[in-house]
Symmetry: C2
Subunit: 369 residues, 2 copies
């Protein structure tokens, strides 16, 4: 029972274009605007919406770099282009302050009626690559989207923003801008800086060391390919909370380094850090929020021929089993590999015997995931 | 032209049992030994080999915790159970020193003939979970396996160890124990401690922060669930090199924290760290060594019904396309998701049109991976 609305999307990068595609898929009117002509053209060609030519929209989504958010929000509200405006930047306190400053007059009076129509937002979705080419309608599906209404935000504006989030297939998580920035400093910004610090250590290593890079290191440095300018902007825009968490991590690593040098109690110091990490790790909720769902893994040996994966999944489907996820562990060019099928615990035994009967080499392992 | 041999595997955890399974698959005789009766029984039931009853083997693989390596290697060589002995511990200098000490007599003379028969080894493979239940024959397929012969290691011993590595489907990378430990301190051990330090920050966070945990943070803390005792052992066994790298990372994060507090040049400091991270990241070779292979991603919208993935891959196979990898981006319980098919660049256009013709909703995105 979600009625179609009209939405103006300002900024047609990965996030803006994905929002537009999701909204179009839901039958909404979408207008697109971007000073980056090439991005805008690409988004238009993808069918993400129509070029904005002054139409008034119910909601405007400002999906521009953090430093430009306040100015663009002010322009959109001032020009009367939308009833409610929200943004998508990964920092929330600074843009709100900058916007408040823009709508404060020479006498120090805040234009409260404008601030009432703005709701900060931050969809927790992204990819390693940016730009409209990597956009897709399902980017936000099932993921959290934080909304940070200020004390002046109207009930109508929050409702409009919540409609937008739901229309993109995400679920709204409401908190204050301050809470958001403190939390995201740890869960996103610090992760970026730590990944970069780790990858930076490779710069001066001899070539032999590169042969020792395994999956753990790859996973931990995948985001190190990010855009420096964007991250300098984000980090300086959330400097206080970020400095606190980084200093904390730096100190706890420094303490372990010191303990390792006085070999006496290094085991204790390292053990304590690993224990604390396990305790923190246990607090991470399941992938899509709520209680983590347990899967059972059924590993199957396959050969490197076209159609193997299809035949395997066909046999799984014929057994009435819904494969929830799979992981391919295969070196291209080598004759065999393993495909791990993730299924609900109730399906594992049946799948195992059905695949064995169909001639597949099913490995003994069936650990939980 | 690899002739079958007899191998003794001491320690039937994840690594030992996987070695045994790989060797059995190649038609070799495998004898198993473990003081952990339950592990040994499980490995025997998996068909990983026969219970060791004093048979002499060509090669012995000592797959026990780092702290026990020297003692067990000495026992195996002293008891005449194998011609060549290698181990699988992720640290190489300390076990070698401990072993040399064990075979040095009261007059300070080293039993060089014994040291000649030992080659340190470290397969770069592993999983988040340990124990024989998670073992599988393909664990080492296509991955590097470091061998660290000492100056006293005989040519025959190195050759035997290289045979073992090849028989497990891995490729041997030869370097000194010191080179290995310095390199692995960065690529594996530090990654573990950084993941733990990051996850440990979650312990005292308010519940709302846990809603902000996204994929990047999950990837970076996945290994934080590791075993504290094992890691205390590994870290203290590689204390010097590890302390150097950790102190370096701690210092570079500390400098960024300081810059963020004096907001003037924080953007510069953060930008420089991200740039250095990018430079390091570019040095990481492709997944299986050698030049990274480029794939093209073809994203397809699918519904959450049994058999969708099979039908999709069946259609890909019918078009003659070999899908090299795939990523499922799907929230269980929600009606639609995206499956990203990874194919060679030469196959992307054909796959796209074949799937579209077969009625699939193929998204516009086709970025490289």
């Amino acid at each position: 029972v979600v009625r179609p609305r009209s939405v103006l999307v300002v900024g047609t990068g990965l996030i803006g274009t994905s929002v537009a595609l999701a909204l179009r898929a839901g039958g909404n009117d979408v207008y697109l605007s971007d000073t980056h002509a090439e991005h805008l053209d690409h988004a238009l060609r993808m069918g993400a919406g129509e070029r904005h030519q002054g139409e008034r929209a119910d909601v405007a989504v400002v999906a521009v770099p953090p430093r430009q958010v306040a100015t663009v929000v002010d322009q959109v509200l001032g020009g009367g282009a939308a009833t409610t405006v929200t943004d998508t930047a990964s920092i929330k306190v600074r843009p709100l302050r900058e916007f408040a400053r823009l709508v404060t007059d020479a006498d120090g009076d805040l234009a409260a009626s404008r601030v009432a129509r703005f709701v900060g937002g931050h969809p927790l979705a992204g990819r390693e690559r940016s730009g409209p080419r990597t956009a897709r309608a399902g980017l936000f599906t099932g993921l959290p989207w934080v909304l940070t209404p200020s004390e002046l935000t109207s009930a109508e504006a929050l409702e409009n923003a919540e409609w937008l989030v739901a229309a993109c297939g995400a679920h709204a998580v409401v908190m204050s801008a301050e809470e958001h920035d403190r939390g995201i400093a740890l869960t996103s910004h610090v992760a970026q800086l730590v990944a970069s610090a780790l990858a930076a250590e490779l710069v001066d290593q001899p070539d032999a060391v590169l042969k020792l890079v395994g999956q753990g290191f790859r996973d931990m440095t995948r985001i190190a390919a990010s855009d420096p300018q964007l991250w300098a902007d984000i980090a300086s825009g959330n400097a206080g909370p970020l400095a606190d968490v980084i200093a904390d991590i730096s100190a706890s690593l420094g303490a372990v380094a010191a303990a390792l040098r006085e070999s006496a109690d290094s085991g204790t110091a390292v053990g304590a850090l690993i224990e604390a990490g396990r305790a923190g790790h246990r607090r991470i909720p399941g992938k899509h929020g709520g209680a983590p769902r347990t899967y059972r893994i059924v590993p199957v040996i396959v050969s490197d021929e076209p159609g193997q994966m299809a035949r395997l999944l066909g046999d799984a489907a014929a057994a009435g089993v819904n494969v929830e996820d799979l992981r391919v562990d295969h070196a291209p060019g080598l004759p065999v590999g393993v495909i791990e099928l993730f299924v609900g615990p109730e399906s594992a035994a049946g799948l195992r015997s059905a695949l064995t009967a169909a001639g597949w080499a099913v490995a003994e392992d069936s650990a939980d995931a």
